[in-house]
Every structure is written in structure tokens, then in C-alpha cells.
């Protein structure tokens, strides 16, 4: 198993290098960073001055060499928008997003697994139909709108919870609720089908023949095996919360990565975008590694080869 983890780790480093290079070349070949920052009406000489100032006029490979050295040293240059080092700017925002994602997943995953298991236990029951509705709603949820409606209802009408900010625990409730909608539906659905699949396996019949209590069969025997697909999906969902975070953080003014990504794109801030890509890529890689580790721990066939 250790070998497997090491191999995955080396693969991840490779992926990271490829992603960073792609972003570098796309940013300079497809787009012209200086022209983008000055906007379509900019005069050619202004663009040129800016290019010279930031070294975008130099040969691509020279730029790449400098970029690569910078990346290794953790230096992505200064953000144009805020005029300070880009990487620390991105890293500052990391805790807020991690916090939000963690609360979201800690709320969504257990609930989804319980609902999905109950649905699988009695297909066609009220809970099962509820899970169907839930996953349908999750897939159709307009996250930014749901967030605003929650604000409208809980913060503006009822005045129970704050509309935006991140100072205390109660600030996280509404954004996490909004973000949780999608993984909740999806994980419940997958739990349901994974559980149904496990419940039709012969070992369930054995467990019944052994007189094991039904609750134990469902929550012990079947769920333990169903965990493997559920964990894989949960990792994907955790990564996908970044999608939602972009929008939800904007709605709730949550000072996380998502909000910064929007600012970076709106301000056409290439160094900041590059630093953000780096941080996000590492975030995804770490999540995937964690999923792999959990996966191989849960599956004895992987654990003991």
C-alpha cells in the first residue's frame, strides 16, 4: 500500500507541473496579459509599456524559466490589482474556504448516507421518494439564488442569522446550507444505489441466514462495503464544492478562495490567477490523495494486496 501511495504522489507532482505550464502558456499565447488588463480601448504603446514593465515582451521560454524558478520559490509575482505578492494573498483565503467546505461536508455526508441507506432499505417508501426529490432538487438548485432566498428569509425577514461575513460560527450556517444542497442529493442517491447493489449480494443472504438483525445487516454489512463508492464520490463532491464556493462566497461575502477567484478574473490579474491555480491544484491533489488513502484502508483487497 505504501508503494501505491508513493506512486500516486509522484503522479500528482507530474499533474501539477503540467497544469501550471498549461496555465502559463495559455495565459501568454491565447491571451495577452497586458492588453487584457488595459481593456479593449487601450492604445498600442500603453500595452507595450506595460509589457516591457512586466517582462511579457521577452521570449516565451525566458519568461517560462523565470516563472518556473519563481514557482519553486513560491513566488508568483505581485498581484496587479492589490500590488502585493500573489501567493500569500491566495493562501490567506484558504482557511475560510476550507472551513466552509468542511462544515458543508460534515453536514451533508452523514445525512446523505443515512438518507440513502434508509431509501435503499425500503425502496419505494416515503424516504426513498424523499431522496429522489432531494437529488432532483440538488441537481437543479440555483445555488446563488438559494443563498439569496435564505438571506431574504432568515436574515432579512426573520432576522435570525447574519446576511454576510465570517466572524462567528453562525455566519457559516447559511452558506454551508446552500453549498450542501448539491452533495446532499448526489451522495444520498449514490449511497442508495450502492446500498441496493450491496443488498443484492449473496453475502447479505448469508447474513440473513445467520439470523443477523436487519439493522445490523444494513448498517454494518452492506454499508461497510458500500462505503467504497461513496467515499470516491464524496471526494469528487468535496472538490466540486469549489465550484459552488465561487458563487456562494460571492453571495455571502465569504472571504475565501472563491471570492478571490472572481476578483482575480474580473480584474484580469494574471499573477493572482496563476497563484490561485497553484493553490487550487494542490487542494484537489491533497483531497484525491486522502480519498485514495481512505479507499485503500477500507478495501481489504487493496490493503493486503
Amino acid at each position: 500500500m505504501a508503494r501505491y501511495v508513493v506512486r500516486r504522489f509522484i503522479q500528482s507532482i507530474f499533474v501539477l507541473v503540467v497544469v501550471l505550464s498549461l496555465v502559463f502558456f495559455a495565459g501568454r499565447v491565447i491571451g495577452n496579459p497586458a492588453a487584457l488588463i488595459l481593456g479593449p480601448e487601450a492604445r498600442a504603446e500603453d500595452v507595450k509599456t506595460l509589457e516591457e514593465r512586466f517582462g511579457y515582451d521577452q521570449p516565451l521560454l525566458v519568461q517560462f524559466g523565470r516563472y518556473a524558478r519563481g514557482v519553486v520559490a513560491g513566488d508568483f509575482g505581485n498581484s496587479w490589482w492589490q500590488r502585493r505578492p500573489a501567493l500569500p494573498m491566495a493562501l490567506e483565503r484558504l482557511p475560510a474556504t476550507l472551513n466552509l467546505a468542511a462544515v458543508t461536508m460534515l453536514f451533508a455526508l452523514p445525512l446523505a448516507m443515512i438518507l440513502g441507506s434508509l431509501a435503499a432499505w425500503k425502496p419505494g417508501s416515503l424516504i426513498d421518494k424523499g431522496v429522489n426529490v432531494l437529488s432532483l432538487t440538488g441537481a437543479s438548485a440555483v445555488d446563488f439564488w438559494v443563498g439569496l432566498m435564505l438571506i431574504l428569509f432568515f436574515a432579512v425577514q426573520l432576522r435570525w442569522l447574519p446576511t454576510s461575513g465570517s466572524d462567528s460560527l453562525k455566519f457559516v450556517i447559511l452558506p454551508a446550507l446552500t453549498l450542501a444542497l448539491r452533495p446532499l442529493g448526489r451522495v444520498a442517491q449514490v449511497t442508495r444505489s450502492a446500498m441496493l447493489e450491496q443488498m443484492s449480494k449473496p453475502y447479505i443472504k448469508t447474513a440473513r441466514a445467520k439470523g443477523i438483525r436487519e439493522r445490523k445487516i444494513v448498517l454494518g454489512h452492506a454499508l461497510k462495503n458500500a462505503f467504497i463508492p461513496i467515499i470516491t464520490l464524496s471526494g469528487d463532491e468535496a472538490v466540486s464544492t469549489l465550484n459552488g464556493a465561487v458563487v456562494v462566497e460571492t453571495v455571502f461575502a465569504w472571504p475565501g478562495l472563491g471570492l478571490l477567484i472572481v476578483s482575480a478574473v474580473t480584474n484580469r490579474d494574471l499573477p493572482l490567477i496563476e497563484a490561485l491555480v497553484f493553490v487550487v491544484a494542490i487542494l484537489i491533489i491533497v483531497t484525491n490523495l486522502l480519498v485514495d488513502l481512505t479507499y485503500s484502508y477500507l478495501d481489504p483487497k487493496v490493503r493486503y494486496g
Partner: protein, 674 residues
């Protein structure tokens, strides 16, 4: 994006039937509720196309006197006599008209993007799946890599490079959403490649492009249709999100997402500004997702069945016959079969007595009559072999006795199972469960799949003590190790920590046996216990079972399709055909002189030491279709002894002699012929 795609794929990889206009119409008639979403989509499409004529106001017409006009207030405009039904926005533009024009934008982005990404994705999938090799490798690597990136982030990066706007949005979605089509198309193309119709087209020299577009592509339409519906919803949601962030459709063009963003600034005093555009997005996405789910059930009836059947806890199906009282049942003189040793009266207390057991399967394709009146008895220390082909109902009847049928689709529709004089079909669920494992145990054909892959074998055996005796975990494991030694698993102490996949087939079956005998059951049912094993191991397992039976005095039921395996061990045999016992009696007598043509056939089809090999012959004909069992004697289509009467008159169980019975009109002739 990753997760949604993978989960979507999971559903799409299931077999899909063709979606035809007829099947859709038929399904619509069945699911009338689907008319609502369908109607909504039609209205939406009409609104989008005809927005210029249908909208009551000009969506760009600003009227500063009407700023943030609440809904349903009378019109104060000089340019139009229509009221502002949904109110007006901060620039005094009619919200309803802007919503209607917004529908056009949403649908246009959705459709154009799906056409673009679908074309790219499907073409790549076809090519990758058809030509395979390095091309396939490259494409699928790309798919995996892109699917690992959160889609919205990728979209934002591309938008940074190319700028916002309608066509740039379409470009973004084309580039970020083609992968799922490629996956689905490739997977199905791979499987179609191997199908006769494609191979046939290849041999008659059709060009590759003709095969791909004429023979393979049409078969992909149903899953792609489902996928496209889902994707339109995803794209519309994503467009709304991007426009909300100010990076999608640019003002003044009316876009739902942008409208919500505008309304956000007035959230405290103009609720309608965000409520209505958001509802429009939600309803559109919801409707499309509903349509996709529904289309999937249309294309695949088993899906429908899976979604809509409830799993009943009832074991007796209320619709059909009520359980026949036991008294009445056993008084059917000549039809009563008894395998008890000579000298015992018929109504004596048996260990296990199965009377007229009936099991039906309710499937979407019709009712299967799996078990149609099976009766037998078993006493302490006896071994009964139940013999039959697959589909004869031997396993189903055993599972009905255990109470572990999958219900639905299987339902016990009649009969009784008396254990120690108590009808197991009438006792409570929890009492029945406690009897399982404690008094009646069962082992299965394939010990690998019958053991839970996620638990050590030790804990699986120990589970018996923990469940039924409340033993502590430590003590239970110690007992499990003892049992493993008893079934002669070498170095039991160490191996108890191992998982099932680390054992050989024979050892796994020993583990199964160990857990089955853990609580000294009175009855052990072994369902094809040696079929999945090597021949040498088969004999060892049978020997072990026989030995354990002598030690414990339990009654043993051996279910098998191979009489040769159980010949040395069994006392009695019951032969099953089409869900009925057609012959039963002491094994030695039946072996010597079968009284049913089917038994005779079975005996002839196994090699026997006392006969010359040239008589070896399989029974001709196919096992019966359980949906429509042949009239009269169910065996008549395959029977060498068939006479006219066999076509119409179902043979009763004739009492052949003291302990033997046969359900054949001509049992005497059959016996003479032996």
C-alpha cells in the same frame, strides 16, 4: 463537474432500450403527471421564440418613474396599457418581459452549447471506441484529466482569456462539457463493436465511417438523448451562475442570472427582483432534470420497476390464496408423501416438515411460478438430497424455508413450513430471524461471494455468538477459532484475522460451514456446497459435512444438480422439476430403479461406476419456462414415455411403495424399464 458527471454516467451505463416516439407516447399515457413538465417546456420554448410578440412591454424600455414597481400594481406607463404583472426593475423595465426575453437567452446558450459540446464529445467517443489503440488512450486521458478539474473554475479561466459574451460562453461550455459525451459514447461503441451487426457490416466491406454513422450512432440515440437533457439543465444553471458573477451574458441583454445579481442590491426592499428570475431558472432546470429521469425510465423498464416497487415485508401475498391450514393439507391421503423411516406413523412430530410450499416471482415481465407445491419431511440425523436442474425451484424452496427470499420479487403464496411443529411462515419476523442460524443454518454455493469481503473470517464466524448469545467480542473470536479448528482449517488462530479473498475456495467453504454449525443447529441446508470447488476439494467438503452430521445429529438438506456428489451421503432424495417434487424416496432404491422418466434421465446423465460409460446421455430439451409451465405433466415435452393423457392430466404424487412416490402416470412402466 467531476462528481455530477460520474454519477450521471453510472446511470447511463445501464442497459438502455430504444426510445421511440411510440414508447414515449405510451409512457406519457401511463405517467400523466409528466404532462406538466412537458407542458412547461413547450410554454418555455414558445415564449423564447416568440418573446418579441408575446412580451407585454419592451424589455429595454426604461421608465424611471416605475423604478422597483411592486408586482400586480396598476400600470402607470404611457407607452403601454398592460399592467406590470411581476413589477419593474431598478431601471423601471417590465420584469415579466425581461424574464421572457431571458428565456430566449438561457435556452439559446443551453442549446448552442450542448450542440457544440455534444458534437465534439460524441465524435471523439465514436472514434476512440471504434479505433481503440493509442487514439483511445489519448482521448480518455484527456477526459479523465479534464473531469478532475472543477468545471466552473476552468470556465472562469477560459473566460479570463477570451472575455465574456454569448459566443464566448458557448465556447466555454463546448470546451468544458464534452467529456461526458465522450465517455458514454466510447463505452457503448466499444460494446457495439463486438456485436454481430457491426462485425457483419465489416465483413461485407462497409467503410468505417458508414459503420460508425449508420450502424453504431443510431443505437446511441437513447442514452445521448437523456444525457443532452441533463446537460442543457447543467449549462443553463452554469450560464446563470456566470452571468450572476458578471462574467457571462453582459447587460443590457436580459439574462436570468444577471437579473438576480441586480436584484441582490435591493434585497431588503424589492423581493420580487430576485424571486422571479431565480424561480425561472429553478423551474427550467428542475423540469429538464425530471424529463431526463423520466426518459431513462421510458428507455429501460427495469429502471421503472426498480423505482416504483415497494419492498413488502409481507411473506404471504394477500392477493392470492391464503395459507391452507395444516390439518387439511396433510390429510390428502394418497398425495401425502412421507420420507420417514418405516414404522413411524405419518403424523408423528418431524423435525422439519414442508407442506405444499408455493413461491411466485413478480417481475416486470410477468409472474414466474418458481415453486408450485413442494412437500417433504426431514428428521434428526437424516440427510435429504434435493435434486434438480437450475431453475427447478430447489434453491428458491430452500430460501423460502429459511425465510431469506428476496421479497420482492419473490413471494411465498401458500403452504407451511413446520419446524418442531411450529409454522415458520406464521411466526413473527423477529422470532423467525432468531431461529435462523440458531436452529436452522444454511451454506451457499459460492463461498467467496457468500462471505462479506469487508470483514475478517474470524469476525464473521464470531458474529453468530455475538448476535445470538450476546457473547463478548473476545470470547466470540476465541470460539470462532475453535470452530475453525473443528472444520480443520490449518493455523486457525492466525487465519482468523484474514479476509475471505485470502483463502482458497475449499477453505472458504470450511469457514462458511464453521459459522453455520457454530450454534449447533438442528437443520443444516447446504445449497450446492461443492459446485464452485475443485473435484478433489468437493469430496473433502462432503466428507466434512457427513462427519459433522454424525457428530451433532443434525438433519441435513443437500441441494444439488449432481446426484453423484451426494450419493454416498444422502439417505433420501427428492427430485424437483418445474417447481415440484416429481419423485422422492430412499436414495438407494431410486438409484437402482427410478420411477420417473426425469430421474431416469438424470441418472443416465451422470457417469456411474457400475454401468458402462456408453449409456451416458443428457436429457434432451430445455428446462420449462416458469412463466408458462406446460399443461398436464410439466415434463411431457421432454419425456420419452409420454402418452396422450400426459398432455392434459397433471399426474398426482402416486405412492409407489412404502416410502416412495412419483408423479408420473406411467411410473410402473418406467420402473420396469429400469
Amino acid at each position: 463537474m467531476t462528481a455530477s458527471d460520474r454519477a450521471g454516467l453510472r446511470d447511463l451505463e445501464e442497459p438502455v432500450r430504444l426510445i421511440t416516439a411510440r414508447s414515449v407516447l405510451g409512457a406519457l399515457l401511463r405517467d400523466r403527471l409528466m404532462l406538466f413538465p412537458l407542458l412547461f417546456l413547450v410554454v418555455l420554448a414558445v415564449t423564447a421564440i416568440g418573446a418579441d410578440f408575446l412580451a407585454p412591454h419592451d424589455p429595454f424600455d426604461q421608465n424611471l418613474r416605475l423604478r422597483n414597481l411592486p408586482p400586480m400594481t396598476a400600470s402607470a406607463s404611457e407607452t403601454s396599457k398592460f399592467p406590470y404583472v411581476l413589477g419593474a426593475d431598478p431601471l423601471g423595465r417590465d420584469l415579466l418581459s425581461r424574464l421572457m426575453h431571458g428565456a430566449r437567452v438561457s435556452l439559446a446558450v443551453g442549446l448552442s452549447s450542448v450542440i457544440a459540446s455534444g458534437t465534439i464529445g460524441i465524435l471523439l467517443g465514436l472514434v476512440a471506441g471504434y479505433y481503440r489503440g493509442w487514439l483511445d488512450d489519448i482521448v480518455m486521458r484527456g477526459v479523465d484529466a479534464l473531469m478532475g478539474i472543477p468545471g466552473l473554475l476552468l470556465a472562469l479561466f477560459i473566460l479570463y482569456l477570451v472575455g465574456a459574451g454569448f459566443w464566448n460562453l458557448v465556447l466555454v461550455f463546448a470546451l468544458t462539457r464534452w467529456m461526458i459525451y465522450t465517455r458514454v459514447t466510447r463505452g457503448m461503441t466499444l460494446s457495439f463493436r463486438e456485436q454481430p451487426f457491426v462485425e457483419g457490416a465489416q465483413t461485407i466491406g462497409c467503410s468505417d465511417s458508414r459503420i460508425i454513422f449508420r450502424h453504431i450512432l443510431p443505437n446511441l440515440v437513447p442514452p445521448i438523448l437523456v444525457l443532452v437533457t441533463l446537460e442543457i439543465a447543467i449549462v443553463i444553471l452554469a450560464e446563470a451562475g456566470l452571468s450572476f458573477l458578471g462574467l457571462g451574458i453582459q447587460p443590457p441583454a436580459p439574462s436570468w442570472g444577471r437579473m438576480v445579481a441586480t436584484g441582490r442590491d435591493y434585497i431588503t426592499n424589492a423581493w420580487w427582483l430576485i424571486t422571479f428570475p431565480g424561480l425561472a431558472i429553478l423551474l427550467t432546470a428542475l423540469t429538464l432534470n425530471l424529463m431526463a429521469t423520466w426518459l431513462r425510465t421510458v428507455s429501460d423498464p427495469t429502471q421503472r420497476w426498480r423505482w416504483f416497487t415497494g419492498r413488502s415485508e409481507q411473506f404471504h401475498d394477500p392477493e392470492t390464496e391464503i395459507v391452507v391450514p395444516r390439518r387439511e393439507q396433510s390429510s390428502r391421503g394418497s398425495m401425502d408423501i412421507s420420507t420417514s423411516p418405516p414404522g413411524t406413523a405419518a403424523d408423528v412430530h418431524h423435525l422439519l416438515e414442508v407442506i405444499d410450499l408455493r413461491v411466485k416471482f413478480r417481475t416486470p415481465y410477468g409472474v414466474l411460478n418458481a415453486v408450485n407445491g413442494v412437500s417433504y419431511t426431514l428428521n434428526r440425523g437424516e440427510t435429504l438430497a434435493i435434486l434438480g436442474e437450475s431453475g427447478s425451484g430447489k434453491t428458491v424452496s430452500a430460501e423460502a424455508v429459511m425465510g431469506i427470499l428476496d421479497s420482492p420479487p419473490a413471494f411465498v403464496t401458500g403452504g407451511s413450513v413446520l419446524f418442531d411443529g411450529v409454522d415458520l411462515l406464521l411466526v413473527s419476523q423477529s422470532r423467525r430471524r432468531r431461529l435462523c442460524g440458531e436452529k436452522i443454518a444454511m451454506i451457499f454455493q459460492d463461498p467467496l461471494s457468500a462471505l462479506n469481503p469487508a470483514y475478517t473470517v474470524g469476525s464473521q464466524i464470531a458474529g453468530m455468538f455475538q448476535e445470538h448469545r450476546g457473547t463478548s467480542k473476545r470470547e466470540a473470536i476465541a470460539k470462532a477459532i475453535e470452530l475453525m479448528e473443528r472444520v480443520r482449517i490449518p493455523s486457525a488462530r492466525e487465519r482468523a484475522q484474514d479476509y475471505p479473498h485470502q483463502f482458497s475456495g475449499g477453505m472458504r467453504q470450511r469457514v462458511m460451514i464453521a459459522s453455520a454449525i457454530a450454534l449447533d443447529p438442528d437443520v443444516l441446508i447446504a445449497d450446492e456446497p461443492t459446485t464452485a470447488l475443485d473435484v478433489t476439494v468437493q469430496a473433502q467438503i462432503m466428507e466434512l459435512l457427513a462427519e459433522l452430521q454424525v457428530e451433532t445429529g443434525m438433519g441435513l438438506i443437500l441441494i444439488t444438480h449432481d446426484l453423484g456428489v451426494v450419493a454416498d451421503v444422502a439417505d433420501y432424495v427428492a427430485v424437483m422439476y418445474a417447481g415440484k417434487i416429481v419423485e422422492s424416496g430412499p436414495i438407494a432404491e431410486i438409484y437402482k430403479r427410478p420411477a420417473h422418466p426425469y430421474t431416469k434421465g438424470l441418472l443416465a446423465s451422470i457417469p456411474r461406476a457400475d454401468q458402462k460409460m456408453e449409456y451416458l446421455q443428457p436429457i434432451s430439451g430445455a428446462p420449462p419456462n416458469l412463466q408458462s409451465i406446460p399443461s398436464g405433466c410439466p415434463f411431457h415435452p421432454r419425456c420419452a414415455f409420454v402418452v396422450d393423457r400426459c398432455f392434459v392430466e397433471p399426474p398426482p404424487l402416486y405412492k409407489v411403495r412404502q416410502e416412495r412416490s412419483s408423479s408420473c402416470h406411467r411410473f410402473e412402466d418406467v420402473m420396469h424399464a429400469s
